[in-house]
């Protein structure tokens, strides 16, 4: 029981973390149709900016300033970069973001060095929030969950309940009409891109000290955020939320499962089991596979339901 509850809690918190990482990506894709490959780079920059700012004036100002700076940078990138290549179609946009990602990956070690920087959790949040049986739940983890849920709620409300959200949604499907009604459509897209990168930056501010702030951190999360976006359904925030939670919980629980294919057939005389070449395959345990499960789910999803859990686009 203790193990089950702890694992459930761990799974939930990991899932919410995944959502935090991928929400900006999903937002930009759902509202602009741009698959932002530089998303993880903005996450990394968020962590480094937060490190720099927090070593000067503290963590709390950094929590606000770093995402704002990155949002501004993202907006400028959209205005002077993405908008120019937009004319050449989606492939050009994609290549542009890949280029930005490569650039950031090379520039970061030039400025901050290849070694991890000392970006630590703030003292105010470095305590145990509560204890479940004998397992303690750190306050910083609680803080991460709170931010992640906050992100979800805020995005949902803004997009579906506010005026600006309606304009954004309308601009996606009927840009000419929205323009004719007197709204500046390009500026709407600039805003969306800026908010998307700001969200990535916020995830970086929070993830950077929970994990390690180093030049390879972008590459480390780069693949998993795409898994979330694909499984959730490209362009669906609700889908991304559900996918994050489901994958987080599945992965956490599968670590605990020490079963392999050979256990399944144990006792029965299946000839295959005695095949030397296959034995190593059969003895792979589920726990060993755990970190690969999200990728497996993505492949299956692409085969059987290409639009993802709740995707609206093909």
């Amino acid at each position: 029981m203790e193990f089950f509850l702890t694992s459930l809690l761990n799974g939930l918190s990991y899932g919410l973390l995944l959502f935090m990482l991928s929400s900006g990506l999903t937002l930009i894709f759902s509202m602009m149709g741009v698959l932002n490959f530089a998303h993880a780079s903005f996450y990394m920059l968020g962590a480094y900016f937060a490190y720099q700012i927090s070593s000067a004036i503290g963590f709390w100002p950094a929590l606000v300033i770093a995402p704002l700076v990155l949002g501004l940078a993202g907006a400028l990138l959209e205005r002077y970069g993405l908008r120019t290549v937009h004319k050449s179609g989606h492939v050009a946009e994609l290549l542009f973001t890949v280029g930005v990602a490569l650039l950031v990956e090379e520039i970061v070690p030039l400025i901050w060095g290849r070694m991890a920087v000392k970006y630590a959790i703030p003292r105010e949040l470095d305590f145990t929030l509560f204890s479940l049986f004998s397992t303690s739940f750190p306050a910083y983890r609680g803080f991460m969950l709170l931010v992640s849920v906050g992100m979800m709620v805020l995005l949902y409300v803004v997009l579906t309940r506010s005026r600006i959200g309606l304009i954004i949604q309308a601009a996606l499907t009927h840009p000419e009409m929205v323009g004719a009604l007197g709204h500046n459509v390009p500026r709407v897209f600039m805003l969306v891109f800026g908010v998307g990168t700001a969200l990535a930056g916020l995830a970086g501010v929070i993830g950077g000290n929970a994990f390690v702030t180093e030049p390879s951190m972008a590459a480390a999360v780069g693949s998993i955020v795409f898994v979330i976006a694909v499984v959730g359904g490209l362009g669906s925030l609700e889908g991304a939320f559900i996918a994050s939670l489901v994958l987080g919980i599945i992965q956490t629980f599968s670590v605990a499962l020490d079963y392999s294919l050979s256990d399944l057939f144990a006792g029965s005389e299946v000839a295959l089991l005695h095949d030397e070449a296959l034995r190593s395959l059969f003895s792979i345990r589920i726990s060993q596979m755990a970190p690969m499960i999200p990728y497996l789910v993505m492949v299956l999803m692409l085969i059987f339901r290409p639009q993802g859990l709740m995707g609206k686009r093909e």
Binding site: T6, R114, Q288
Partner: protein
């Protein structure tokens, strides 16, 4: 147009001449350093390169080898891949280099070791002597051993043996958990731990073992929950790096896991900073050296290195390797790799932490190993030297005698 081409041609010839000039003039003995200098592992490769250059500079400052010849480091980037390693080896032999050194990744080491055997068989005049300073797969000095490969780091079996002999003295150790990265190294550590614990400490139970993909796990809390549920009091892991070791220990602290961690690489690079407070008095390390070994003869060199580069010195084993190479060249009175290899076999040498011996049967260096534990360190504290300005260092818990870490070898070496 043709005039332009001619002018460019002259420039190119001139440039090539200029590049070739110092090499001819200096007449140095070159050592090719083949390690990752770009990509995710570049940090480790660059650090090792700086240390290697410092070691070589020290030898050169004392007059070099063979009465005045200087050593020279040629850095080659293998991008942490066996294929690239072989390309770089080819580049080294094309430049007439007879000595290579490498340390990161047993997969690269295995590829290099195999390739140099073939080089000698096909073109003996191009023979390459390989100083391995940190690839610890036991196979390299057992079934896959070869005459041209010399290992200066204790292999992972020996390190596990040292850990087990230390655990044998701790009465409180009852349940051990094994966790590792899912590749040759992690598996080798696990297998050695299973074998040696069963042999030497039959009363200690192995309560679980896990392999996870290298560098892919962001959240170790499920593993921590599992270790906790197993009731383990001790964890043995070959994990390295800020992520796989740093995050693992941190997650352990967050989850309220109270165990002692026995590691190989807790001191490397930024790992002490990544582990942080969570490791103090709980993260142990088995190594030939750590920053707070008292009265070691390496002190002046280490302080100078720290001052010049701003980083802590880590690879005593690499320093030993290059110094033994220099000694072997002097003893052989030649830089001929075959003669140098013969001089290295069986060599005894006084390293900064005691006498070491290159076992001739398998070319595995026998060196004393320390068990140390993470501690707060800094200029004003009891333990003066922290690692890479992290505020954390290591203190000696035990010095493991050679008899407790030496293991027999299955190597049957073909000698030229």
């Amino acid at each position: 147009m043709s005039e332009k081409i001619a002018r460019a041609g002259i420039l190119v010839i001139f440039a090539v001449f200029l590049m070739a000039w110092p090499a001819v003039a200096a007449d140095t003995i070159k050592i090719a350093h083949i390690d990752p200098m770009s990509g995710a592992f570049a940090d480790a490769g660059e650090r090792a390169d700086k240390m290697l250059r410092a070691v070589v500079n020290e030898i050169n400052a004392k007059g070099g080898v063979l009465g005045g010849k200087k050593l020279e480091v040629v850095t080659l980037d293998n991008k942490q891949s066996p294929q690239e390693s072989l390309l770089m080896l080819k580049k080294a032999t094309d430049e007439g280099i007879h000595f290579i050194t490498q340390g990161h990744g047993s997969n690269n080491a295995a590829a290099l070791s195999e390739a140099i055997t073939k080089i000698y068989q096909r073109t003996p005049e191009k023979a390459v002597l390989y100083l391995n300073f940190s690839a610890v797969d036991p196979e390299l000095t057992n079934d896959k051993c070869n005459f041209w490969h010399f290992r200066f780091d204790s292999n992972s079996d020996m390190k596990v043996a040292a850990i087990v002999s230390y655990l044998a003295r701790q009465k409180s150790v009852k349940k051990v958990y094994l966790i590792g990265q899912d590749y040759a190294h992690g598996r080798a550590v696990r297998d050695a731990a299973r074998r040696l614990l069963a042999q030497k400490l039959p009363n200690v139970k192995i309560v679980g073992d896990d392999l996870h993909p290298t560098g892919k796990v962001k959240d170790f809390s499920p593993y921590v929950a599992k270790i906790k549920a197993s009731g383990a009091d001790t964890v043995i892991t070959g994990n390295w790096g800020n992520n796989d070791l740093g995050l693992l220990v941190k997650a352990g602290k967050e989850g309220g896991l109270k165990v002692n961690w026995f590691t190989f690489y807790a001191e490397a690079g930024g790992t002490p900073a990544a582990i942080g407070e969570a490791g103090v008095d709980h993260v142990y390390q088995v190594s030939e050296y750590h920053t707070n070994i008292p009265n070691s003869s390496i002190e002046p060199f280490v302080r100078k290195f720290e001052k010049e580069t701003g980083m802590s010195f880590y690879y005593l084993r690499m320093k030993t390797a290059i110094e033994m190479l220099a000694k072997a060249i002097n003893q052989a009175k030649s830089a001929d790799p075959l003669k140098v290899a013969k001089a290295l076999e069986g060599m005894r040498y006084q390293s900064a932490t005691g006498e070491v011996w290159m076992r001739p049967e398998d070319h595995q260096l026998m060196a004393p190993l320390y068990i140390s534990v993470m501690t707060k360190a800094g200029p004003k504290l009891k333990y003066k030297h922290d690692v890479n300005r992290s505020g954390f260092g290591f203190r000696t818990e035990a010095l493991i005698a050679l008899k407790d870490s030496v293991l027999p070898t299955t190597c049957r070496m073909a000698r030229p």
